[in-house]
Amino acid sequence: MAEQEKIMEQIDTAFHDLESGLNGKTGTPMHAFLKHAYSVLKQIEFPGRKHEDWKYTPVQRLMALPYKLPRTTAQYKVTELAGLESYIIPVLNGKTDVASLHPDLKTAGIKISMLQEAMEDTRLKSIFNKWLNPERPDSNQAFEFLNFTFQSGGFFLEIPKHLILEKPIEIHFIHDDPDVSFSHPLYFVHAGSGSSITLIERFEKNIASTVADQAGLINALGFYHLDHNASIRHIKWQDLPAAQSLVYKLALSQEKDSRFNSLGIDFGGETIRNNVEVELEGSNTYTSLQAGFLAQARQSMDHQTRINHKVPHCESHELYKGIIDGQASAAFNGKVYVHPDAQKTNAYQQNDTLVLSPHAVMNSKPQLEIFADDVKCSHGATIGQLDDKSMFYLMARGISAPAARHILKAAFLAQVLDSMEVEPLRDHIRSRMTLDI
């Protein structure tokens, strides 16, 4: 496995750079955590083409780049969205500086601490420890352990019980470095019982950057826990520069009566890998995963979801809609497990794709495994082209062929995008993706 060795050599160099930069902070629980993570990473291999869950993500190509650790960036700016007021948490090159966050967050009751500190807090640690120490880690967790190994600026976000925020929380993920480098955002979101928030994740270009676009990898990992009756409306907007790639994982666990509504839109970047893993721990939960994506040129966008129905009376919905053009490729693999005890489960999954070029590729794989007998589950997958009859109808009213194609593409993604409640962001996304009609 020569490729694997080459990858590990580069990682080794980067890890020693990290350790030498720790200065007086060696021997802390954080340092012990990094060393442990690295020892695990060395034992597992990055998944190759033969790995069932990774065959549509070009992992070897992605990891072949000589990534260093990025420098610290101070200045950043993302597109300002008129009319959007929010609590902002910047994650710059993987790091968040909690001390410099706007005091409004604290005033609003949002509790946020650096991961180093949270690690020394037994109460917080008990919440996230299970995620940091998975049983029998394998290739599927390679990127997770890569993230842990280089951890140096993650945060823990706590929404206290019964806190209801009108304004959304925005996390801005920016990777900006003159060299080929990777960054590893790690964050925990703990929504207390009865709390309700809107959380927006924006992966965007630093428009205040002083260096030319350079190849880079963001390896982001977010763990969400919803306590009883908590509610999160989650939005992810990915509009990275063309040379950057993203490996993204959203791991979610839900206690009883909680609701999680997620809407993800992918537009930018080069190689995009999205993993969403949902553990339903308590009954009467609601989970909705909606996603829309537009893959063009040589972009690769791979979506993997896994919903684990472990208890009765839970409902999950998935709707993934993508448009693939040029020489782009995309994949959707939707796993739904309904355990024997999870009676009265409602689980619905739909994946619709438009493939607009003969060189574009889509792989769609619904995967439902149902071990309970009193459930309602359904799935569907369609792959097609723009409808000829619709094209003719629009053009027969004087609309040009490019404009008609544009309208039909926008209409296709509208089913997902229209449900976005944060209007300024929705309008921005429409105009960025030129989906205005």
């Binding site: 000829d388 003719f392 053009m395 004087g398 609309i399 062929a401 008609a404 089913q415 009609i437």
Partner: protein, 255 residues
């Protein structure tokens, strides 16, 4: 006077099957021509070919519109030049709001004519004024284009588009099919309001009923892809009484 539309010896096929076998038809400005015929006679094909539907192969023949070669024009160019096809089965497009669609087509036409685009307010005023005339429910503007519309609502939406675009040559493809008598009357009134010396119509229909409301100048009977008979509105009445069989026997009628 130069004819608006001149179809000469038009032969058309689809997937190797011949549908039109030598159509000759000349339409002058201001005329209303009804095209009748049994199922499968090629009535709908003619309308679709005029609008530019690409599934059909033109084997031979020509179509001139205002002296220009229509067959060399793209679908959208034909529409912008003044051809309008009211669809027999209007297409449902979820995700495109009807009002945005109407705005797009009105402004596309205005840009083509070198006129400034209408702003949102002027647009709404213009669309509303035309909706009232055909007793169309304003809520249909907010819905997706034809999505979940009833048969009557879809046909009214076609007439609305025709009214908004003010074409020179309107083709109504079985606009009466599936309409109850009230809807039929409203649709026909919409057409009659648009009748003018500068506008011509081809009314494709299976039944004579519509022609009680839209009085045609000429009635053509199409069978097996050829015009077998041409007459005035009394021809339509005769067809209603006697069916199509007598024409097939070769009793060709000319005005």
């Amino acid at each position: 006077m130069k004819p608006l539309l001149k179809i000469t010896d038009l032969h058309v096929s689809i997937e190797g099957k011949k549908i039109l076998n030598g159509i000759n038809l000349t339409i002058n400005s201001g005329e209303v021509h009804a095209i009748m015929g049994p199922n499968g006679s090629g009535k709908s094909t003619l309308g679709n070919v005029l609008a530019g539907r690409e599934e059909y192969t033109i084997e031979s023949g020509s179509i001139e519109f205002e002296g220009e070669d229509l067959l060399s024009m793209d679908i959208d160019q034909r529409a912008l030049s003044g051809i309008f096809l009211a669809f027999q089965y209007p297409v449902e497009i979820p995700g495109v709001s009807n009002s945005n669609f109407l705005k797009s087509i009105i402004n596309a036409k205005r840009v083509f004519q070198g006129l400034p685009e209408l702003n949102a307010l002027e647009m709404l005023k213009y669309i509303r004024s035309k909706m009232i005339a055909i007793e169309m429910d304003e809520n249909l503007l907010k819905r997706s284009l034809n999505d979940g519309f009833s048969g009557g609502e879809k046909k009214r939406n076609e007439i609305l588009q025709m009214t908004l675009l003010e074409p020179k040559m309107a083709i109504l493809d079985e606009t009466d099919s599936g309409l109850d008598i009230d809807a039929l009357r409203i649709v026909a009134e919409g057409v009659n309001q648009l009748r003018s010396p500068a506008r011509s119509f081809i009314v494709v229909t299976h039944y004579q009923r519509l022609l009680n409301y839209i009085i045609p100048d000429f009635v053509h009977v199409l069978s097996n892809g050829r015009i077998l008979a041409t007459g005035d509105k009394t021809l339509a009445e005769k067809l209603e009484d006697q069916g199509y069989d007598w024409i097939r026997e070769g009793n060709s009628v000319t005005p």
